[in-house]
């Protein structure tokens, strides 16, 4: 994973609650065996509407997506994260997230920022008033800023996720530091597993 220290750029307000991962990337896209190219499928049903916010020229090239309550609920499909990254987003700001989505995002270096509804509303209002203004999210200092408006707000991120983002650490490598403990745990397990029993029949 590449390190993530700062995500900055234009922000685009999606402004809907309960955006599920079926909306982020519809299931017809899940047949692919590659990890790239999912950006074209991002919100593809909503993008059919010319007035949909991602189709509006003033938000072109945005790198930060502003959600609302419960962003990324439903299906575990990591394709939702791949689609957001492939489209060009580096961060999603919302007041709450689906658990599996947030986990997947952390693994891929898509920055997940939780802001309480009042702060999120302020940020959305600033962006709506001037879509061209720059928003910056700093992982080291844990702040969201709109420099030209003098607006800033802190956010929380657990220490491990923050460190993993800053260092670009790979989870598998981190876990394999515990190879001896895994082997020790396995030494206590019964030799015959249910799958082996089934496969032997």
């Amino acid at each position: 994973m590449r390190p993530v220290r700062v995500v900055e750029g234009r922000a685009v307000p999606l402004g809907r609650n309960d955006v599920d991962t079926d909306q982020i990337i519809p299931s017809e896209w899940l047949k692919r065996v590659e990890r790239t190219g999912f950006g074209r499928g991002l919100f593809s049903e909503w993008r059919d509407d010319p007035d949909f916010v991602l189709n509006r020229p003033e938000y072109a090239g945005a790198t930060i997506l502003l959600g609302a309550e419960r962003f990324g609920t439903g299906s575990s499909r990591e394709h939702a994260v791949w689609a957001l990254l492939d489209y060009g987003f580096g961060a999603v700001v919302a007041s709450s997230f689906g658990d599996i989505f947030a986990n997947n995002a952390a693994k891929q270096g898509l920055l997940i920022v939780r802001l309480e509804p009042a702060a999120l509303s302020e940020l959305v209002a600033l962006v709506v008033a001037d879509p061209a203004r720059l928003v910056a999210i700093d992982v080291e200092r844990l702040v969201v800023e709109v420099p030209d408006a003098g607006w800033r707000h802190a956010f929380a991120l657990d220490a491990m996720t923050r460190e993993r983002l800053l260092q670009g650490w790979d989870d598998i490598g981190l876990s394999l530091r515990h190879e001896a403990e895994i082997a020790h745990y396995e030494s206590r397990l019964a030799a015959e597993t249910p799958v082996a029993r089934l496969a032997a029949r």
Binding site: D18, D22, S27, K31, A68, G98, D99, N103
Partner: protein, 468 residues
């Protein structure tokens, strides 16, 4: 010291390492794999020169993408076909047991795990699918993971986890006749909301839960994720033990009794404390139908389509208006007056033998209403064979239903079983999201019995309304 919850017992037993300031590393007893969320994970292993650490703890099947035509019919869509081939290639290369399309053990991953007896009490079970919570009915800690985590589990047989908060959902009293596990879980989600269980593992308990069959318990645990909870659990009792007896993955004879004795410990202690508690009175519940575009937008079958005026906040009003527009519904319309185009009986929520029996009992001797397409997709080949042995297939076909081959099918519309834009469907599946069953499709979640009655009536109906 206070007693421990079932969740804490399973979590504690699987700790491999608990490094300071990092998530706990948990051992994974069983990893279920399917074609959609695994190809990029196997690719990752290849890129890094890694192997599958424990093939004997990994089991794969093809379910999401498979057509429900007979296996002799080739897969028409080249992208789907390629994905199924890639699963076969990956399983062969990495030594993973696979039940491919047409195999006697193939089926929806959350149907075959329990029915083959590979999902067992006290286990940790993961799968790249959010409905992995289903296996919690067997008192296994089971949850969905993303593809990066699939790769992680393949490589290490472990998963880093923060300990979740615990929530007890206690369902007191008994469900009335004609009220099913599906109606119960839809009512629970309506009460909790789509985010009410976030960050929690739910343990379902109480008299009504104890009275459910294992298959009913699977229906309840299956939809935990629709309330935001990654996992649902139900403690072991004799119903659990008897369900497992004789299944292929389970030991026999004295070894079974030994295993059963151990399994009986997978219950919450009497003095265990949960972080949150919700109590529901089962006796007040009636059949449910979702009207909107998330599973918490649910009303009784006797009810009416809600109005934006009922909203408690501007956001909720907006959500109701958006859902009404997508679903093509007018506030105040009785659900019983809403006609359907398609009826789908299937999915990891409701495609087991008891579900098919409940639906067949309603349609026996009746006909699907003119203009309605009705299909039954058994959850697995074993379910299909058992249903055919009882003659359920003939009941469905005589009534005008299609009797199809196992798979996820129209639950998520990845195969050719899809709604057309604007079509309205009574579905026994788990998600009524926009476009879930096909672009522009309108999904209403119901129980198998209500789905069957709706097929006969051509509009939402209870079984009693279509009695001869």
């Amino acid at each position: 010291m206070a007693g421990r919850t079932l969740y804490d017992k399973i979590f504690d037993e699987h700790v491999v390492a608990a490094p300071e300031g990092e998530p706990t590393l948990l051992y994974v007893d069983l990893h279920l794999v399917h074609e959609v969320t695994s190809p990029q994970a196997f690719d990752g292993l290849r890129l890094n020169g890694r192997r599958v650490r424990r093939p004997e703890r990994t089991l794969a099947t093809a379910d999401h993408n498979v057509p429900t035509d007979p296996p002799s019919v080739p897969v028409a869509d080249p992208v789907s076909r390629r994905q199924l081939e890639v699963l076969e290639e990956n399983c062969a290369e990495f030594g993973v047991t696979l039940f491919p399309r047409g195999d006697a053990n193939q089926g929806i991953v959350h149907v075959i795990g329990p029915e083959l007896g590979v999902s067992q009490p006290g286990m940790t079970i993961v799968c790249g699918d959010s409905h992995t919570s289903t296996h919690g009915a067997l008192a296994a800690l089971a949850f969905g993971i993303g593809t990066s985590e699939v790769e992680h589990v393949l490589a290490t047989q472990t998963i880093p986890q923060q300990r979740a908060r615990t929530m007890a959902v206690t369902v007191e009293g008994r469900l009335a006749a004609g009220v099913s596990a599906k109606d119960l879980v839809l009512a629970i989600i309506g009460r909790l909301g789509t985010g009410g269980g976030a960050g929690h593992v739910i343990e379902y308990r109480g008299e009504a839960i104890r009275a459910l069959s294992m298959e009913g318990r699977m229906t309840v645990c299956n939809m935990s994720i629709e309330a935001g909870a990654r996992a649902g659990l139900i403690a072991v009792d004799e119903t659990t033990i008897e369900y497992l007896r004789g299944r292929p993955g389970v030991p026999e004879g004295p070894a079974f009794d030994e295993a059963a004795e151990r399994w009986r410990s997978f219950v919450s202690d009497a003095d265990a404390v949960f972080d949150a508690e919700v109590v529901i009175d089962a006796s007040t519940l009636s059949p449910r139908v979702t009207w909107g575009t998330n599973p918490a937008q649910v009303v009784p079958l006797d009810g009416v389509v809600p109005s934006p005026e009922d909203a408690g906040s501007p956001e909720e009003r907006d959500a109701i208006e958006r859902a009404l527009a997508y679903m093509g519904l007018t506030p105040g319309t009785p659900l019983r007056e809403v006609g359907v185009d398609v009826v789908f009986i299937g999915s990891c929520t409701n495609s087991r033998l008891e579900d098919l029996r409940a639906a067949a009992a309603v349609v026996a001797g009746r006909r699907v209403a003119p203009g309605v397409r009705a299909l039954v997709v058994p959850g697995s080949h074993r379910v299909k064979a058992a249903a055919e042995a009882e003659g359920l297939d003939r009941v469905f076909v005589a009534a005008g239903f299609e009797w199809r081959e196992p798979g996820c099918s129209m639950c998520l519309g990845m195969n050719p079983d899809q709604l057309k834009p604007g079509q309205r469907c009574a579905s026994t599946s788990n998600r009524n999201f926009e476009g879930r069953q096909g672009r522009g499709g309108r999904t209403h979640l119901v129980s198998p019995a209500v789905a069957a009655a709706t097929a006969v009536a051509g509009r939402f109906a209870a079984p009693a309304e279509v009695a001869p």
